[in-house]
Subunit: 451 residues, 2 copies
């Protein structure tokens, strides 16, 4: 495969640099042998790539910051990686209309900072906020730690500019506060993981800024007590802005890299934050009382931002701790909150039975955990057993009325389970919608609902 | 056209009763000569109707409470009106998961009341809240008075059960707090105005209840001062939960039916509410100060619920006042908030130039007005001039980057302008999506994007 003259000036040629564009953050991602990388500099470049790809039947993988965890932006053999990371302009930020208009390569944290400078807030906050891009967030309908109060990316997207397969450019949605003219194509593109078109501009909604959050941290000697606390907190009129859960194996992994003050042997830790303007101290104290009532063995409450950050430090170290613990698959199941205890218990049972080490932690307040399944990278049998255990827990989550993915996306890693969740009738329609927008199947083929 | 035996027991036969199912609340709606009405009693009835309709190529108009204002649920000649009004069960209401599962015929106000009994809140509140149905709200992605703070129906729909043309039943979305598995078919159905399928169950999101609102009412002697006040209020960190605008001709129409205390000759009235728990009095006083700073000539502030309701009485009487004033078309344009003054001024200019009486009022805080165009029902020329004036204002709104419909839907009355707003490329895709879900074109044919 060779790129046409018109695109070659945007292509990455250095093999080492090119290799970095071949994969994302998903475990076990391997770049194929043959692929090209084009770094778009403007809308025209995206149009050129999609026109060329359509004409030649070349697969295109739209790619943002390569922080994806589901394999949705790994290069495809014989295909073009279309990187949007260079499109980093915040075109507009309007406090009265409550919108920002941004290019897809804008980093999540940069949009947050720009909004904050105007007293506004862009809530979606994947743990990768410091380096993930808005385009990738839109592609996966990303969530994060704030969702328990603020919802997900889709809740903050009003409109899009999208380049379709073949190079046609359409605009969807609206800039106004409301708008119901015609079918909601915006919602269709959000979360479509690059399978329907390439997003080149996003109109995001911004909301008034909350107060800096105050944190409480509680330890529990039983999962059911931790779960009771979550249920009590979800009934709160003034909702926590963060409600994270770490189980015993997770805490051991975190303590293994440094002492974050977690006692050994406790069954679970909950971390809760309050950010309601003018009421953070009052709310976090009330949360602390609820945590104690539910049976917490110890509760620490931050008085200021510094203590707050200190209590969150162990949670922030989680990703590094799990990487240090070893190679692992990351799940992204979300279940009804009442089922959390049963989900975690099921994970521990699967671990005990199969010998696969499993940590269960994540956004407890949403019922959205990221169970991690550890294996020996050099041992196919070990990897296979981890995969089997992974699949078992997915089935448990689906049996609870849950989903295979709360916020990471289906990508390539979870595609095999999608029909079990949504059913054949839905898959058939999803594929038909795909065929309608991408008749030659050039956009991220083989992913999500098309494996 | 005759209904098959299996459906005839659900059919309405009394001609007078049948006639009431022929039309909705849209102005000038006329039922066609020949149509059947089937009142569904359960999912099976809906399946039967859509199977029969598909087999015979019979048009089906899904219908809720017939409160639509865009002609989207008026009977079609030779077709079946499929009424969902009998499906009124709230199947589930779960305060921990923060969801309600409801049938489409549930009245909006009944869901609000059921949620309130659990300390929860279902925000979407069309002015027709007391008699419109959730199914209709989903079909049009309805808004209301709360949107300035709480958003629209789509923001509160997590999942759907939908019967497709032919009778196949699919489920979309999720019950969990998050879920990104596959394409967002839920969003596609919300706002599709009965053109893609018939919704038979809705999983709605509920949020914690606010405080009972306190109201402020301000009069202005210039539109630009009222607009300045709206801009100032939109910059508020603690947003108004309601922000309505009435222009001079609207105020005259309201005063004509009873004395609601509006002074004659003022250019505009703004009505503002605060519902922040524990802070309603403080917030509404701050809003009052902002209204004065912006140049209000008079500001009244309610101290309690009774005074609050009294200040809102003129707004509540609006629909009756406009009906009493005469036959009129209702527009539903939404523009960027900064453009409100220009939009209203344009309406007044069109009125002065054409002689068509036009009132400009609505959800000022969203930039979403419902301009009304009056005409003599017995005079075709008068009606034609009102239609022309209506079309002129639509063009002004589109020129401002606005939309033809903020919350009522496109239906049949606004279909002619949809291509001007969304463009040919989008219309083409919308029609293709329609063809995919409804290959024989039996679902609300001729409406929205398919005229």
């Amino acid at each position: 495969m060779t790129l046409p003259e018109s695109l070659s000036s945007r292509a990455v040629t250095d093999p080492d640099v090119k290799a970095t564009y071949g994969i994302d953050e998903s475990v076990g991602a391997l770049a194929p042998d043959r692929y090209e990388v084009v770094r778009a500099r403007d809308l025209g470049d995206v149009v050129d790539v999609l026109a060329h790809a359509q004409a030649t039947g070349t697969p295109v993988v739209p790619q943002g910051a390569r922080s994806g965890l589901a394999g949705g932006s790994v290069a495809l053999d014989g295909g073009i990686v279309l990187s949007l990371e260079g499109l980093t302009t915040i075109t507009e930020l309007d406090a009265v209309e409550g919108i920002a208009v941004v290019q897809p390569g804008v980093i999540n944290a940069d949009l947050k900072a720009a909004a904050a400078a105007e007293g506004l807030f862009y809530p979606p906050d994947p743990a990768s906020s410091a380096f993930c891009s808005i385009g990738g967030n839109v592609a996966t309908n990303a969530g994060g730690l704030c969702c328990v109060k603020y919802g997900v990316t889709a809740d903050y997207v009003r409109g899009l500019e999208v380049v379709l397969a073949g190079g046609e450019v359409i605009r969807t949605g609206h800039r106004t506060a409301k708008g119901v003219a015609g079918l909601d194509l915006t919602g269709l593109f959000v979360g479509s993981e690059g399978t329907l078109g390439v997003v080149t501009e996003v109109v995001t909604k911004l909301v008034p800024a909350p107060d800096p959050a105050l944190t409480a941290l509680a330890t529990f000697d039983s999962l059911s007590a931790a779960s009771d606390a979550i249920v009590a907190l979800r009934r709160e009129r003034h909702r926590p802005s963060l409600l994270e859960l770490l189980d015993e194996p997770t805490l051991a992994a975190v303590q293994a890299i440094a002492d974050y003050g977690f006692p050994t042997g406790c069954a679970a830790v909950l971390i809760v934050q309050a950010d309601r303007p003018g009421h953070t101290a009052e709310d976090v104290q009330r949360y602390a009382a609820l945590l104690e009532e539910a049976g917490a063995t110890e509760v620490a409450v931050a008085d200021d931002a510094q203590e707050s950050e200190a209590l969150l430090a162990g949670r922030r170290a989680l990703h590094h701790a799990l990487v240090a613990k070893g190679t692992h698959f990351i799940e992204d199941v979300c279940v009804p909150v009442r089922q959390l205890t049963d989900l975690i218990t099921a994970g521990h049972e699967i671990s005990a039975r199969t010998g696969v080490e499993i940590t269960m932690s994540g956004h407890g307040g949403d019922g959205n955990l990221h169970p991690s399944f550890f294996y020996d990278a050099g041992d196919d049998d070990s990897r296979h057993r981890a995969e089997e255990a992974f699949g078992e827990l997915v089935k448990v989550a689906l049996g609870m009325g849950g989903t295979i993915t709360g916020e990471h996306g289906v990508g390539s890693l979870k595609a095999r389970w999608l029909p079990d969740e949504v059913g054949a009738a839905s898959i058939e329609r999803q594929r038909a919608v795909k065929a309608l927008f991408d008749p030659r199947g050039i956009l991220n083929p083989g992913r999500v609902y098309w494996s």
